[in-house]
Symmetry: D2
Subunit: 149 residues, 4 copies
């Protein structure tokens, strides 16, 4: 099950550090599987903020939000309470109204081994009515600028 992260800590990837707390774990002694999606969303939020184009600003200025329309997660190795994790985030493709993000979650002390790999499809929609919308240029450029394309 040992696998190198698909998204590595290259220049192109955003790094988000987090600590695992009891709230994140389950009675199996490991991080509950749904919570990787939460970690990944925290990292995407900070990646956008770090690129100077925060999600909150997009919502306030344009009334648009990104919503997850598809998620794929491969769980490769468990994480435990008190682990120090890093989420590596990289846009895979940026289209008019949709973005595909690739993310890898690794332990800070073993960054060459992926605990989880995610591929998240985001759609840009109008918060008011949920209709699809084009990603505003500022956010599109920020996302594309950090992608490998």
């Amino acid at each position: 099950m040992k696998r190198h992260p698909r998204v590595t800590a290259s220049e192109a990837a955003h790094r988000y550090a987090l600590r695992v707390y009891y709230e994140d774990t389950d009675a199996g002694g490991v991080v509950y599987h749904a919570n990787y999606l939460r970690f990944a969303e925290r990292a995407r939020t900070e990646a956008m903020r770090g690129a100077g184009a925060s999600h909150a600003a997009m919502t306030q200025e344009t009334g648009l939000i990104f919503v997850v329309c598809r998620a794929e997660v491969d769980y490769l190795a468990p994480a435990h309470v008190d682990d120090s994790l890093i989420v590596l985030t990289r846009p895979h493709s940026v289209r008019a109204a949709q973005v595909v993000i690739e993310q890898s979650i690794v332990r800070a002390d073993a960054p060459d081994r992926a605990l989880a790999e995610l591929r998240i499809d985001l759609a840009c929609i109008r918060a008011a009515d949920g209709r699809p919308a084009r990603i505003p240029p500022r956010w599109r450029d920020a996302l594309a600028g950090t992608s490998g394309e």
Copy 2:
């Protein structure tokens, strides 16, 4: 630590049954402490619905919502994955703009022993601006009708 539930399964108390799943537990092997507040809120929601005055209807018809303004929880014994629990709910006092609810959480197969006791203070506010508001008569009567007063 064995303590009889303050709210017992008398006629006056609403009973809400739930099952504990992995999502509710933590690496200590027991239900994570914050999740008792979630169980309690599910039970309050169903108690109001059962009294013919649902929270969702209040929000839709009047623009008002109940928010938790104070919570006290005593944790007396742990709950485990797959446990079948019952939340007993009884309004303690109903005032113009505030309600105090008492709740006990027990195991279905040992209802004389409280796992947790809660006292929740709810304030009625306007969803639009958060200002305090009087509880509409229909909801006030429904809550008072199920209280021990």
Copy 3:
């Protein structure tokens, strides 16, 4: 985005009903995307119990647990607070040490439209050390018996 559920309420599918509470939603006004994985796990747990082969019994009797090793979720339409949902669950394939489950989430009052479609790969492992293990016959048969194969 309207799509018929891949898993329909046929005889072969297990039906699990749940209500959406505030805890399940986010500030976008809809169910938070990670929480569909929680709903799905509740349903899988009850589907196994309903087939007479509960997950908890497997862990107690054999020391084995199922863990999610891959998840795919398509988010097709949002769910809102107070919605009454049904999770339809059907094993897609049952192998020696792995099971693939297909699940659809629908609204109880509009069961012909999927809100979300999930495909969950479960691995059977030893709880003590995480090593892969064969699914015990009783659980294998129970899972296979409810599959479409």
Copy 4:
């Protein structure tokens, strides 16, 4: 409802910064009430680590854990998505087998106004059987050293 934090950012209090994400909020547009307990636990964990006596080390070295046996939370003002919060943590009293912690949650840009005040009673127990245990000296001293006593 404006109230100065009971625990202020004095030398004696530990400061833990966090960001509010969508996962933390509910359809009311604000942080879900149960999640303040999660924020508070993250802060207590880091306060112990910062005092050189981490909870994880206590569990590994002594088999003991702290569990919440009582929680009181006053909710004074809401927090919103993308808010930058600070949790101020100070032990109120340290006894042989129990600790009482006081915590205030404030916005980083308005630290003189408490959003929530918490008082958390922790019991030291043996992880294996849940029996009460004396807090080991190293952890007791670390906790007492940061208390106002």
